[in-house]
Symmetry: C2
Subunit: 331 residues, 2 copies
């Protein structure tokens, strides 16, 4: 029995999907589902291709009540920039949760991943940052650095943003762009620890393999979201930061213990899987405590989960259908 | 930088891809590569969805020297037949092995999987069956039962085929169809152990969860390929069959120990991972012994590997390009 599949290109997706409050709320609900419903989310299929300096991840999650589930393919080929190509690419496939038939293929080159990752940052900021965030800091100058600033500005009245990056030029470009787009005071700074000292909310977005922040920069009323580490060899925060934080929140503890900041902290004997770490969905759903006082130090470790992919793919199909976008193939 | 993606439907694939000797040779080479080259093949991502009687598998493999690698998504929704839909569906994505960019999406509803699975059966028969196969037996009456007969007939002069299935009507239908298509004497039989007694080559293609063949049916000069079990709860052969066989060959030992006949034999203490089992690629490449005498009993345990998917996807893109088939989208 032939059925229709909706095929949607990167360009079509960029016309219909932007980082907005509906998407942030959708990702928030997905995390809550992870804590409160019988979500099925197998471990990430991860294939390292060291001789071509590449890796490929496949993520999925089945969320009861949703009509579909996504299978997301994320190749990262890190020699691509030298060829004039982006490192990250890939696609998302949405399958029917009732029949397994392919409903849609989003040929997004990683765009939906960028958006759902930024949305998770906004969710973490919403639930874990102190009551008043006047100054936000971002480490890194890539796509996620930009998107994390845009995302935070959607959920709180950020007045000033400080940006640190290894390349001063890229940091300056980022501040110029965002000053214009967002109408916020955005400045590049040279010292990342001074940046942290001046901020209530910090997001780290780098591919660092050794900690770029140490615990000396912690101060009362600070929230740090670390979203750079998503592989077994990445690490942005000194493990002492997690040890000293009042609250440590993971998107998924089992995954952060393998791919996130929690991994390094466990390896250094400063944290355990079953210790103080809780999950973001548990905080959202109110079944675990997040920040309870403005003067606490909180950390959120985001590695990226299949449940976010299923959530954004489902929302995307709805919007694409309404907008009559994409191409339909009968197979 | 925009790039082109080739999208190919099930119907277009069926026009260009048939089970032929080139495909059988291609799958044979893929197995040889698995034994002799630095193939990277992570464990299958397997998601069980018990409340909808379904499972989803994702397979992949990177083969040095090939320009692309496949990521294959196989949903099995076993209540589909009651809705008039096939249980198995899915698609294959072919990515560039150099840049990770998506090259092609084969919306095949599982067709390429059917073909590469049957081809593996032909490869196993070619390397493990005794010198003369006059009578072949098949257990099961589904798509693979048909394809395994067609596949074997491509690589050896099979004169007679016996078919056993739980439903006598389906077995009769299968024999009528194949008698016409292949011009071979195909007969349905009621007793599966009598079938084995009369055959030199037997292929089991059922979704059985408890052994359907016991060791009493073994006789000198018999080869059995068991390709039904590909999940942790499936089993077609009594573990004593593997224990008594002179040669046991797996498509991938690590995977068969989890998903194949080898699993049950290990659980029953009759086989070990590091014991007599060898891999099909090793036999093809000549680095492990397969059948050395016509009177031996050999067993091949096929669970289906990502390297087969990468091989057939690569071959398919070549044929589709030559045939100017499919649709091109620029993303």
């Amino acid at each position: 029995m032939p059925h229709d599949i909706r095929l949607v290109t990167d360009a079509e997706l960029r016309r219909v999907i932007h980082l907005d409050l509906e998407i942030i709320d959708c990702i928030e609900s997905a995390f809550a589902a992870l804590a409160t419903q019988q979500v099925i989310m197998p471990p990430v299929l991860s294939m390292a291709l060291p001789h071509v300096n590449a890796e490929v991840d496949v993520k999925t999650a089945y969320v009861p009540g949703l009509d579909g589930f996504a299978i997301k393919v994320s190749p990262g080929f890190f020699d691509n920039p030298a060829r004039g190509l982006p490192s990250l690419n890939g696609l998302m496939v949405l399958l029917s949760a009732h029949t397994g038939l392919v409903q849609a293929v989003f040929l997004d080159n990683g765009y939906l991943t960028d958006i759902r990752t930024a949305a998770a940052g906004a969710v973490a900021a919403r639930h874990l940052a102190p009551g008043t965030v006047t100054t936000m800091g971002v480490l890194g100058t890539g796509v996620q650095a930009r998107l994390q600033i845009i995302a935070a500005a959607k959920v709180m009245p950020v007045k000033k943003v400080l940006v640190w990056g290894r390349g001063a030029e890229k940091a300056e470009q980022l501040t110029t762009d965002l000053r214009t787009t967002l109408g916020i005071d955005v400045q590049a700074v040279a010292d990342r620890h001074e940046l942290v000292a001046a901020c209530q909310l910090v997001v780290t977005t780098t591919p660092a393999r050794d900690a770029i922040l140490d615990a000396g920069c912690l101060h009362p009323g600070l929230h740090i979201t670390a979203m750079g580490s998503d592989q077994e060899d990445k690490n942005e925060l000194s493990p002492r930061i997690l040890a000293q934080a009042d609250v440590v929140v993971c998107d998924r503890i089992s995954q952060c213990a393998r791919l996130g900041e929690l991994r390094t902290a466990i390896e250094n004997g400063l944290m355990t899987r079953t210790g103080k770490a809780v999950e973001l969905g548990e905080v959202i759903a109110g079944v675990a405590a997040g920040r309870t006082r403005d003067d606490q130090i909180t950390v959120c470790d985001l590695t990226g989960t299949g449940v976010q992919d299923t959530a954004i793919a489902t929302l995307t199909l709805g919007r694409i259908t309404k907008a009559h976008a994409g191409t339909t193939l009968t197979v």
